[in-house]
């Protein structure tokens, strides 16, 4: 159980290179509170697994410190850090039964036999593995194997944090939900700090209280799922989270108006001092743009196609050169290929060089 502080933590795989741009993980400073559920979300190669491996000690950072409850554990070996890690592919000791697998970390640490038995029984009950305790672990299904991997971490009573590295990759879709709810339940019951690496936004948003979005070795935003949805601080967050992602189109912004291909979108706030020379973009989620019949005063757009996702329909439209996705309100039937767009001004954001700019009221 621990609060985790990352202090100016960075890592480069090709030695301690001078060029910070080549770092797999660029310097990051953040605090994760004890008992929190965190998700590191980002596409492949964004540095999320590197960050996880730095915390578990599999990789030693080129720079910076990691503190568990204020104690610097950067130089400590993996086994002294008291963390548990579940990998992408289940790691099972082939020759052992489920029970022996669970007992392995305790045996290695010289815990007395009766205590091992008690802990193993506890954890097996927690993970619904009791009926399998005497079975060979290799013959179980992938989700049971992942539970064993997790169990091997949890048997240790002193575990500081549980790390997950895309643990659901090899699990069948219908079991993913079950296992994820199980993880959630464990998190509630055990009051453990959990860190979950994934490239799947649904997994991240449903698992975590705080989602840390990473892109190109950098943490671009860290916040609750709602924050990431409502107010992406970086165009990448807007684009990566949500399905379809945020509409991000180049625009000219002056005061309370944004111009997209000559069409004006009204804004809620004034943007008078945008950095000169920066790439200015307007970002709005498709959920906050409604398609309406063409009318004077509405921005008119050409409809290219309609994606019917079942519970909701999105229209793919075009304003000049800019492509947009917009919500088709229930009951609205599209006629012709021109439609008006109604923007919700409170959800239209302005980005300068991909970073969110706060307007003044």
């Amino acid at each position: 159980m621990a609060r985790i502080d990352l202090v100016d933590l960075a890592h480069s795989y090709n030695g301690n290179s001078a060029d910070p741009e080549s770092f797999a993980l660029k310097p990051v400073t953040m605090t994760w509170r004890q008992g929190g559920a965190y998700a590191l979300l980002g596409p492949s190669g964004c540095g999320k697994t590197t960050l996880l491996n730095l915390i578990s000690g599999i990789v030693t950072p080129s720079r910076g410190q990691i503190l568990f409850d204020g104690v610097d554990i950067t130089p400590l070996s993996t086994q002294k850090r008291n963390i548990a890690q579940v990998f992408q592919f289940p790691v099972i000791y082939d020759t052992m039964t489920v029970g022996q697998n669970l007992a392995f970390p305790l045996k290695n640490r010289g815990v007395p036999r009766p205590e091992i038995d008690a802990r193993v029984a506890d954890i097996a009950r927690l993970l619904d593995l009791t009926p399998y305790l005497n079975r060979k672990a290799t013959r179980l299904t992938a989700d049971a194997k992942q539970k064993i991997s997790l169990g091997r971490g949890l048997v240790r009573s002193d575990v500081a944090a549980v790390l997950f590295d895309e643990p659901l990759t090899v699990i069948d879709p219908e079991l993913k939900w079950q296992l994820r709810s199980k993880l959630k339940a464990l998190h509630r019951d055990l009051d453990l700090t959990m860190i979950y690496v994934t490239h799947d936004q649904t997994e991240a948003l449903t698992f975590a209280d705080t989602v840390v979005v990473m892109h190109d070795g950098r943490v671009v935003q860290s916040g609750t799922p709602a924050e990431l949805f409502d107010k992406p601080e970086h165009t990448f967050v807007g684009y990566f989270i949500g399905s379809p992602g945020m509409n991000i189109v180049p625009a000219e912004v002056r005061g309370r108006e944004a111009r997209v291909s000559g069409h004006v979108i009204g804004l809620n706030r004034a943007y008078d001092n945008l950095p000169a020379g920066a790439k200015i973009e307007v970002g709005v989620r498709p959920e906050f743009v409604d398609v309406a019949p063409p009318a004077p005063g509405l921005l008119s757009a050409n409809i290219e196609r309609i994606d019917d996702l079942g519970r909701v329909r999105f229209a793919r439209v075009r304003i000049g050169d800019a492509k947009f996705a917009a919500r088709v309100p229930p009951g609205f039937s599209v006629r012709g290929d021109v439609a008006g767009l109604i923007f919700d001004p409170s959800h239209v954001h302005i980005y300068a060089d991909s970073r969110l700019v706060e307007g003044s009221a």
């Binding site: 578990s56 599999i58 070996s77 993996t78 086994q79 963390i83 548990a84 890690q85 990998f87 992408q88 592919f89 289940p90 790691v91 000791y93 082939d94 020759t95 052992m96 392995f104 970390p105 290695n108 640490r109 290799t138 013959r139 179980l140 992938a142 991997s149 091997r152 971490g153 990759t169 090899v170």
Partner: protein, 300 residues
């Protein structure tokens, strides 16, 4: 349901059948034929029924005694070289580098002995071990160790065994190395997190992951050493006395030395049968060991 009848397929099978017939079935049947007969030269043959087989399995006869003695000798030889080569091969594989340019260097060095023809290996060791001009023999004798593989049984055995270990340990090592390389890094990382000692990593991860290739290595090395002929023949010629006369050497002595075709044919059939049975046992054990396991989804 109408079955399509197409006899043309036979023409496709026929060439293979002919090749197998001339290369395997006919020679084997000739041997079966010989094993039932006796000859005194002049291409004259006399029916002997299962007489040779009876003699072969009866230690009180000359033939039976020689066969069984060479068989035990051969089994002992195979056991000893397996007991040395398998653990040694594992140790070598474990100490090989896992990545970098050193891998290529190691692999080439390991492969070298495997590329040398059998009788060249025999000649190398025959010269190497000679007390007068061989580096090994001369050195040992100058150190005061009376080593002579021509006159001393123990020395002859030691030479033959060391030669085989030198020649074939790298095969076991290369197979084990391949097995080790296929273990995903996550296993080692998990073991590290679980606080496993080096020994625990070996017994819990590496050895179980290697068991398939180890079975193959044991099978290959057993069969090969059980059929060994060239190397010991070149080095010791089966001597001193009969001390390093293995089954195949005995077989050649009977067939070509004494020209007892009937006895030799019977011996070679029994020899063949033993090899096939051992192969079958290994094969069954191996496939069963594989069948027990569920296919590991993606873990490889």
């Amino acid at each position: 349901m109408d079955k399509t009848i197409n006899q043309k397929a036979w023409f496709l099978v026929l060439p293979v059948f002919l090749v197998v017939a001339f290369s395997a079935i006919l020679p084997l049947m000739t041997v079966v034929n010989y094993s039932m007969q006796d000859t005194f030269g002049n291409n004259q043959f006399f029916w002997n029924g299962v007489g040779w087989f009876k003699e072969l399995l009866d230690p009180s006869t000359d033939l039976g005694e020689r066969f069984l003695a060479s068989l035990w000798r051969n089994l002992f030889f195979s056991t000893v070289i397996l007991a040395i080569e398998v653990p040694l091969g594992i140790v070598v594989a474990l100490s090989m580098p896992r990545e970098g340019w050193q891998v290529a260097v190691c692999l080439v060095i390991m492969a070298l002995p495997l590329l040398i023809p059998w009788n060249v290996v025999g000649t190398i060791w025959q010269i190497f071990g000679r007390p007068d001009i061989g580096l090994l023999g001369y050195t040992l004798n100058s150190l005061g160790i009376n080593y002579n593989y021509v006159s001393n049984e123990f020395d002859a055995w030691a030479t033959v065994i060391v030669m085989d270990v030198w020649h074939w340990t790298s095969l076991v090592a290369l197979l084990c190395y391949a097995g080790l390389k296929s273990i995903p890094d996550a296993y080692y990382q998990a073991a590290q997190i679980d606080g496993a000692s080096r020994w625990a990593v070996f017994t819990a991860i590496q050895l179980p992951k290697m068991n398939r290739v180890l079975l193959i290595a044991v099978l290959l090395r057993f069969m090969d050493s059980f059929m060994i002929y060239t190397e010991p023949f070149v080095v010791t010629g089966g001597g001193p006395g009969n001390s390093t006369t293995f089954v195949s050497i005995e077989l050649v002595k009977i067939a070509l030395g004494q020209f007892d075709l009937g006895k030799a044919a019977a011996l070679s059939l029994v020899y063949n049968l033993i090899i096939i049975i051992v192969c079958w046992i290994f094969y069954t054990v191996m496939t069963n060991a594989g069948g027990e396991r569920q296919p590991d989804k993606g873990a490889a």
